[in-house]
């Protein structure tokens, strides 16, 4: 999915604007959106991955929205796709709130336990292995152009780099959209900025984590 989310290397966005003393959440609703998402994930609720959903937001809306506005919208979309509730349900409920309605309180100790467990260290991941490429090997990024969710940034496509580090096999980003469950080895691949943006005169290194399916041998 070549959406607006894939912005590495894009120009024209202006300056980075840090905010001194920034809180975790600027407004109460931001924390609620974050908390609802983590609760649904921790309990196996009817939502999917956030990243693939965020990519589908229409580019103009994406840029005009804040981070948690995008999350809120994505939550609604995921719940609607799974038939849990339609945006119209939300609209109706808003009317109820305007008329003085409240968000009902509900306590569920098991659910609290589940979200807290999700913030605890986990057992070590599965053993690594099955890598086709070796550390130090030159590889080239394929021009991945799938319309489904993928994690192959445009700015490295078609460019050659060097395998910096082997990473454990991981679930393919495409799995959710393709309805299968497959893992593939991952790699940290090191690129010279001068290969990515030859006219820039920059001399830094960019290290990008890529699934093996995105890579091919470089001459």
């Amino acid at each position: 999915m070549d959406g607006i989310h894939d912005m590495g290397g894009m120009q024209g966005f202006g300056a980075v604007a840090p905010e001194p003393g920034e809180p975790a959440f600027h407004e109460r609703w931001e924390g609620r959106v974050f908390g609802m998402s983590l609760t649904l994930w921790a309990t196996g609720g009817p939502i999917g991955g956030m990243r693939s959903q965020l990519e589908r937001i229409q580019p103009g809306r994406y840029l005009a929205s804040s981070y948690y506005e995008r999350w809120e919208h994505a939550l609604e979309e995921m719940l609607a796709e799974r038939g849990v509730l339609a945006p119209a349900d939300v609209d109706r409920r808003i009317e109820g709130l305007r008329a003085g309605g409240r968000v009902p309180e509900r306590s569920d100790p098991a659910m609290v336990e589940a979200v807290l467990a999700d913030m605890q260290p986990r057992p070590p991941a599965e053993p690594e292995g099955g890598h086709r490429f070796a550390a130090g090997q030159p590889v080239r990024v394929r021009r991945i152009s799938t319309a489904v969710h993928n994690r192959c940034p445009r700015y490295v496509r078609g460019v050659s780099g060097v395998v910096e580090r082997l990473l454990a096999p991981d679930w393919l980003p495409e799995n959710e959209d393709l309805g299968e469950q497959r893992r593939a080895p991952c790699y940290t691949v090191s690129f010279a900025a001068s290969d990515l943006w030859p006219d820039d005169g920059a001399d830094h290194t960019v290290l990008v984590d890529l699934w093996e399916t995105y890579l091919e041998e470089a001459g």
């Binding site: 309990t43 804040s66 913030m119 994690r151 830094h204 290290l207 984590d209």
Partner: protein, 205 residues
């Protein structure tokens, strides 16, 4: 954690939609308000950059921990009790006198939640995501960090499932500080790589 205290002012569209969504999900039994409370409370009070700072400080004073941290960041975080979502594969990259590291996520805003908390707005913003891979020296300069021309810059784009944290160099003049005192020097920005630890007059011996 009731929303009652907000009634005095006009609610924004996002606030209203979020409240409506929460009400619906609660009524359908898909979430509980106390589970959402717990998440918010954890990320407001427990899970934040202080955790990463403690790991950094320990690595500064304990060479064996430093070695474990660089070999397996996930395990080194777990040692301290830190882990979970968005920290299942933690990799720590160390600054040296010759090399400066920084992290970014160009495709979204991946970030090592268990050790740094939720990311700041600027980290999630288009300017940072777009520019940090392409012109890091310019971006770092805007953050007030002017690196020597000879310093190699390595930018880590968290495009898959690994989450990165930068291990800054211990500043000179901190020999008298204990672990907690050292952790005070390690800001979130130092572990993202857009700053380096500063020793202020009051801290230096």
């Amino acid at each position: 954690m009731s929303e009652g205290h907000h009634h005095a002012r006009e609610k924004s569209p996002s606030e209203l939609r979020t409240m409506a969504l929460e009400a619906l999900l609660v009524e359908r039994g898909l979430i509980s308000t106390d589970a959402v409370d717990a998440v918010v409370e954890q990320f407001q009070n427990e899970i934040g950059p202080r955790r990463g700072a403690r790991m950094v400080a320990r690595a500064w004073v304990d060479p064996a921990y430093r070695e474990r941290l660089l070999a397996d960041g996930t395990a080194a975080a777990a040692e301290m009790g830190y882990g979970g979502a968005e920290g299942e594969r933690l990799v720590c990259v160390a600054n040296t006198p010759d090399t400066h590291n920084a992290i970014v996520c160009t495709l979204c805003s991946c970030y090592p939640w268990p050790v740094l908390g939720v990311p700041p707005v600027w980290y999630k913003s288009p300017p940072y995501r777009a520019r940090m891979v392409r012109e890091p020296r310019v971006v770092l300069r805007e953050f007030g960090l002017e690196l020597p021309e000879a310093t190699a810059i390595r930018i880590w784009d968290s495009s898959a499932e690994v989450r990165y944290i930068v291990l800054p160099m211990r500043p000179d003049g901190t020999e008298h500080l204990d672990e907690e005192g050292l952790a005070d020097l390690v800001t979130r920005d130092c572990m993202v790589g857009v700053a380096v630890p500063q020793v202020t007059e009051g801290v230096a011996a």
